[in-house]
């Protein structure tokens, strides 16, 4: 079965996000009433495995082993079947 995962990696709450703050300042310069900006990274991963349970387990592993550093990042994902 072919699956597509959408993984979003964000900085944990409370962690300083200098990229977000710089972007916020720039948006304020442009006169937008911005309160806060947090930057996150999105991965779209297509892969094959036997079941949706296995697919979710693999994505969880990918996040923990490579895509997120558990010290500073949170992650969330959705996995669904896609056209072969």
């Amino acid at each position: 079965m072919k699956y597509v995962a959408r993984i979003e990696v964000t900085l944990k709450p409370g962690h300083i996000d200098p990229e977000g703050e710089t972007t916020r300042n720039a948006l304020l310069e442009l006169n937008y009433p911005v309160k806060s900006v947090r930057v996150s990274k999105v991965y779209r991963i297509i892969f094959e495995t036997e079941s949706i349970e296995r697919a979710k387990a693999l994505v969880e592993e990918m996040c923990r082993r490579l895509l997120a550093n558990p010290v500073k990042d949170d992650y969330e994902y959705s996995v669904e079947e896609t056209e072969p």
Partner: protein, 271 residues
């Protein structure tokens, strides 16, 4: 072991840009240093065991995609994790400079509180203030002498080296008591400080990246794996110092030499 028998393995990948200076610094001290592309090590896995010192030099690796150092770290541990573990178990020193420090943290080799960790136990996060900083900083040596890379340097000594990075802010997980263990194990090696040695206390520019507790470099509990953000290989010769032309009697070497000399003397003593 005699100085001339010591072999240094310097690993490079696409993006590494401090390998040549690192090799030159080692060779100036009379040891043989070789630069290998990481794929050479993957093809010939026994190569690593022929060396006594392993270095991950500065620069970038694999475009620093995902996170700085993450891809090289995971690839190394997946492909030659057993060889790396054997290297560490023999007490052979591993040095990570700048991107190399990021690699060691992402690989779970540093802080290494419980040996090699499958997941990173710390992070080198984006600088605060944000941006790439290339500047000279002062470092206070905090280690009591077990760190194989700094044991020739007295505790409390102030060294000067340049930093050049955008992700060097050392952070530990908030919920765990890792910091006390780092202190207890004497794992904090260098802290950013003012010229007179007073703590930077997180203030820019003495602390160039907002690093927690002004941490610039740490070692593992055994003192055989060491990572630091500043570049000792860019502070090796006197002519690399920013102000040598203004000095009446410039020294022959910069402070970076102390790191290389310490590692070599450690290997000469131990093997």
């Amino acid at each position: 072991m005699k100085r001339g028998e010591i072999r240094v393995c310097i690993i490079r990948v696409g993006g590494t840009n401090c390998d040549a200076e690192t090799k030159r610094s080692f060779e100036d001290l009379g040891v043989k240093a070789s630069i290998y592309h990481v794929n050479e090590i993957f093809r010939k896995r026994e190569l690593l065991a022929e060396h006594q010192i392993l270095v991950f030099p500065g620069g970038f690796s694999y475009g620093d995609y995902v996170r700085a150092g993450a891809i090289l770290a995971k690839t190394i541990m997946a492909r030659i994790g057993a060889e790396i573990k054997a290297f560490i178990d023999e007490g052979k020193p591993i040095l990570g400079i700048c991107n190399g420090f990021q690699v060691l943290v992402e690989a779970g080799l540093l802080p290494g509180l419980n040996g090699i960790s499958q997941y990173p136990e710390a992070a080198l996060a984006t600088n605060v203030p944000s941006g790439y900083r290339c500047m000279w900083v002062y470092l206070r040596h905090e280690n009591s002498g077990k760190c194989a890379f700094t044991w020739l340097i007295p505790r409390g000594a102030v060294l000067r080296m340049p930093v050049a990075h955008a992700e060097g802010r050392f952070v530990l997980p908030k919920e765990k008591d890792l910091f006390n263990r780092l202190i207890g194990n004497d794992q904090i090696v260098f802290r950013y400080c003012c010229e007179n040695g007073e703590p930077a206390e997180g203030r820019f520019p003495a602390n160039p990246n907002g690093s927690f507790y002004d941490i610039a470099g740490i070692c593992n509990p055994d003192g055989t794996i060491f990572g630091l953000m500043p570049h000792p290989e860019r502070a090796y010769y006197y002519w690399q110092l920013p102000d040598w032309t203004r000095m009446k009697n410039p020294p022959r070497y910069g402070d970076g030499k102390l790191i290389f000399e310490s590692i070599i003397k450690y290997v000469m003593k131990k093997f």
